[in-house]
Amino acid sequence: MSVINNAVLIRRELLTRVMRHLLSGDLEKELDRIPLEMRPRKGEPVRCCVYKDRAVIKYKLMAILGFNIADETDELTPLSEYYHMAAAGNSLREGILTVVDEACSACRKTSYQVSNMCRGCVARQCVNSCPKNAISIKYGKARIDNSICVNCGRCHQACPFHAVVYLPVPCEEVCPVGAINRNAGGVEEIDREKCIFCGKCINACPFGAVMEMTHLIHIFREISSDREVVALLAPAIWGQFGTEPGRIIQGFKMLGFNHVYEIASGAETTAREEARELADRMARGDSFMTSSCCPAYTNLVEKHIPSLKPFVSDTPTPMHFSAAEVRKRHPDGCIVVVSPCTAKRHEAFNDPMVDYTLSFEEYGAWLVASGIDLKTVDSAITETTPEKWARGFAVTGGVTNAIRRVDNNLASESKQIDGINKSSVRLLKSLPQNCDATFVEIMSCEGGCVGGCNVVSNSKIAAREVQKLIAES
């Protein structure tokens, strides 16, 4: 699926600008100038005026510095001050996501509306189809009383002129668990108790109002220090930059990372342990087991489907296994997990083996700011070379394949849930009562991690690249 739209590109431009100034050492001085540079007084505004645009950019920068926008206490606090606080190390938040309330357009509540295409026809199928009598005809046109309407959508289907339109709230629409909702002021707010950190709201919002709180400042400071910094790469990265793995690794080395390892090494362990666990569970009479490597899925079970919990594999994730291995080699090193996933950020935040997380997009912005073109760099080698199939965890079906690699008799009746959304949540809720497979692989993002919320490549291309890599052996 395409990930490109102007809201995404603005975020990438901001990341690149921040990295440029970090690299040239003048971020503190230039930060407060970025909103002015991007929206000059005589330039074209995107929203109502350049001043509004600038305010939105300021708050997005605050998130990039690692802050939750809701924590603002004084509107006059300049960005340079936030940079100071971030550099002192006190901005890491568990919440991962923050709503730029200034950018949120406070969409009106999800509803059906009669558009001016209504001809006030004689048939009046809309009126007849409504189970709540919420539609009446006024001044020759249908009108929906939204205080009675239950959004069943029957009138929308019934109207022969397609005059009834559905007005969604895009972030609420994609949230599989109803964790993002309008507050009293009409602005969206994320309920941390419900949020599973799947990150779907980030790219769904047409106003770019949901941002991740990044660790860029912290990672850059570690790179600039004497401490060893290790990049631990999620396998989906091989599909991101249209170039071979060696060059992607070389990019990290050029940015100042001392070592580069692959999470896929941990995926080998996960696959082996998970296969053994599946065999044990089948032997003891369990009806099925689900995968556990997707953190958005395990958060979903934890917070919303407790009845499914006994069926979720207890095997730790590839990230955990690989980070623990790297920690042994570099006990004092700073471990940075590089992934396309907001839920991974949350998992890493709570895993003592990992220090920070970097998204694919942030890596790309850092390269651009450093003037590095991966197409022209030399090819480096990884310090460990995992089994090729272990890289398959990045694409839906990869976990199942890996388990079959370990033991061909296992997971013969398998099922994949490709994408967590409102309807797959319903399906998951019914699994404990009714499951026709012994192994169920669940991926929160469509297509698997290659469809993650801060990938650079179209997931179709990325999946193709990763599969190609696995096939060459």
């Binding site: 991101q240 930059f241 197409k375 650079v456 490549s457 179709k460």
Partner: protein, 88 residues
Amino acid sequence: MKKKIEIIICAGTHCYLMGGSELQLFNDFIPAEVSRKITLKGSPCLDLCDKRGEGKPPFAMVNGRVVSNVTLESLLQEIENEIRMEEE
């Protein structure tokens, strides 16, 4: 045979990050009758992103002419314009 229209898509990291990754799907996207009239290749950074006045990445070149801020749709449009110009 008529000379084919030469398309170069910048696959440098900057263009890639700013939406150029989508252009990798160009071959799947264009109709066969257009596909027959062009040669398509990728290139490392064309060094256009740092030049003022050249516009914003992603970049492509259509018969040596720079096209900026290019999308699948806009690139196809540029090629169709080029075909029309050559036919006139």
